[in-house]
Amino acid sequence: MRDRPCERSEAIQRSGRRASLRTGFIAALFAMTAPSALAQNAAPPAGEAPPLEVDIIGGISAPMPIAIPVMPTPRSAATPAGETGALGRQVAEIVATDLRNSGLFTPKGPGGLPGVSYPQVTAPDFPTWSGTGAQALVQGYVQANGDGTLTVGCYLYDVFAKTELTRQGFVVQPAFWRRAAHKCADAVYSRLTGEGAYFDTRIIYVAEAGPKGKRTKRLAIMDWDGANHRFLTNGQSTVLTPRFAPNQQTVVYMSYVGDQPRVYVYDVGTGRQRLLVNEPHMTFAPRFSPDGQWVVFSMSVGGNTDIYRVPTSGGRPQRLTNTPGIDTGGSYSPDGRQIVFESDRGGSQQLYVMDADGSNQRRISFGGGQYATPVWSPRGDMIAFTRIGGGGFRIGVMSPSGAGEKILTEAWQDEGPSWAPNGRAIMFFRTAQGSGKADLWAVDLTGANERRVATPLDGSDPAWSPLLK
């Protein structure tokens, strides 16, 4: 290959702020409590209300009213994150926002609700709460500990049955107090829906600015609710398509550094990065395998694009497709045994599935128009994609067999779906006609609850992290 004297020179803005993300964080204080009267295996006594559950399988159901009062503190104390009483209000606000954003709840509070004393956290005044119309109640507390940590307690109650549904507690460094709030919201969401959690997650995406013909594109990362936003690259080189590894600390993405578009592996904690494969060809469209051991990617050799895989640690790429067409957009099934991808081998872009070694390639999409950017759901039961046709792009889902196709969005250009770790919501980017400005959006698997995800600049190519640990 030609020498490449000047590559990999773009500075990554380093920050050790998140380096201790996993080591410094959460210890679960309390185990889940003993099964309550509403546990699934215990039939409620005759005459009592049925179990409190949110039905999200049917898709359209009235959001559940849930009260989230300010969380008291046993004793006011100053912490690096603020005074504990103020934190109690902020934690309640984050829990309310998370639950509202899911589209499955109508939170009340913390503003406008009665105050809760510290002893009341474990002994709610149920008549007051039933008077608000809330069916469920989230209470909690924020306490500063002698070792500099914070404890956030989180309790969920059934207002009508007057029972506790779950309790969880989190010990966090003050810098990670928002994560404790997301964990509390996750506990509430999971207990009431029976679905996996997804609020304590992050989004990596491409932050865009500037005129259409010369946009700067930088890597940026933020919490799922937009907090703790920071840029990871300085914008000197165009970057595209970041994707998380299952360890949430490693990212693959494509960069034009040195005018040589290549896939890089980037460590979010240390800021270090390296070239994925050393080949004199464009590499792009990378994604990790579910165990993080492999990266599937595309490489263009002399105008012909095929899909390859390579060990994340490095090594020789193994070619998985071998057609004269464009094969790209590979995405592993959650069991790691299959890969869905797009190919125009049949004349137009369509979706195909193959075994992880490249064998057994078969087409799964047969609708009109084209299909692109397939992404296998973390639950394995769905594949999200971009459907091209009728002068626009739309986000849709289908089963891995190709059956049950459903289009979820309607706009000029919706592209590049990424799944929430529980497989219930999809984030994508929406490009405006004419200006080319793009921003991030999320939609429920059912097509309901479409909402814009706020970012400081324009945004594209969102990738939703696995649930943080």
Partner: protein, 180 residues
């Protein structure tokens, strides 16, 4: 014409030596002296006070200007989702091949682009196809492959801003670029 050819030859020599510098980030200092400074001072006649960068750019600029004057166009256009060179495109590339034959030291980068109506990753592959279509044609006209680099920008660098057929037609292109 003879004069123009001389300038082109001189500039081409500079382009060659500037090739590596192009790949470096813009904020790096210029490489230590060499032929380019000497030739630059002599051949380009840049005004007093122009630094090495200035001379190099202006010489590379002369080569680019000569290229643009002597080819029908620096770019060829494609039909939607196609990388086929039509007769008009081939005629353009013939003039580029003629210039590259006369300027045997010149290297070029061929940029492949797509309009906005494809997805990002697919368009990267499509841009690569288009750039390679132009490269392969020039290669068939006797230009050594080692003198040509391809890069795909997919739909990331549109030439025309609109979201209409005339803008899309301008954006489906392969552009032959001499180094800065």
């Amino acid at each position: 014409m003879k004069k123009s050819m001389t300038i082109a030859a001189l500039a081409t020599a500079l382009v060659l030596s500037a090739g590596c510098a192009k790949k470096k980030p813009a904020d790096l200092p210029p490489p230590p002296g060499g032929t380019e400074t000497g030739v630059g001072a002599e051949g380009a006649g840049t005004g007093a006070g122009a630094g090495r960068h200035g001379r190099r750019r202006s010489l590379a600029g002369l080569a680019r200007a000569d290229f643009l004057q002597n080819v029908t166009a620096d770019r060829v256009y494609f039909a939607t989702d196609s990388h086929t060179l039509d007769p008009e495109a081939r005629a353009v590339l013939d003039t580029q091949a003629a210039w590259l034959t006369r300027n045997a030291g010149a290297r070029v980068t061929i940029e492949g682009h797509a309009d906005e109506r494809g997805t990002r990753e697919y368009n990267l592959a499509l841009g690569d196809r288009r750039a390679n279509a132009a490269k392969n044609y020039l290669s068939g006209r006797g230009i050594a492959e080692s003198r040509m680099t391809v890069i795909s920008w997919g739909k990331e660098r549109p030439e025309a801003d609109g979201s209409d057929e005339s803008a899309w037609a301008k954006n489906r292109r392969a552009v032959t670029v001499l180094p800065q």
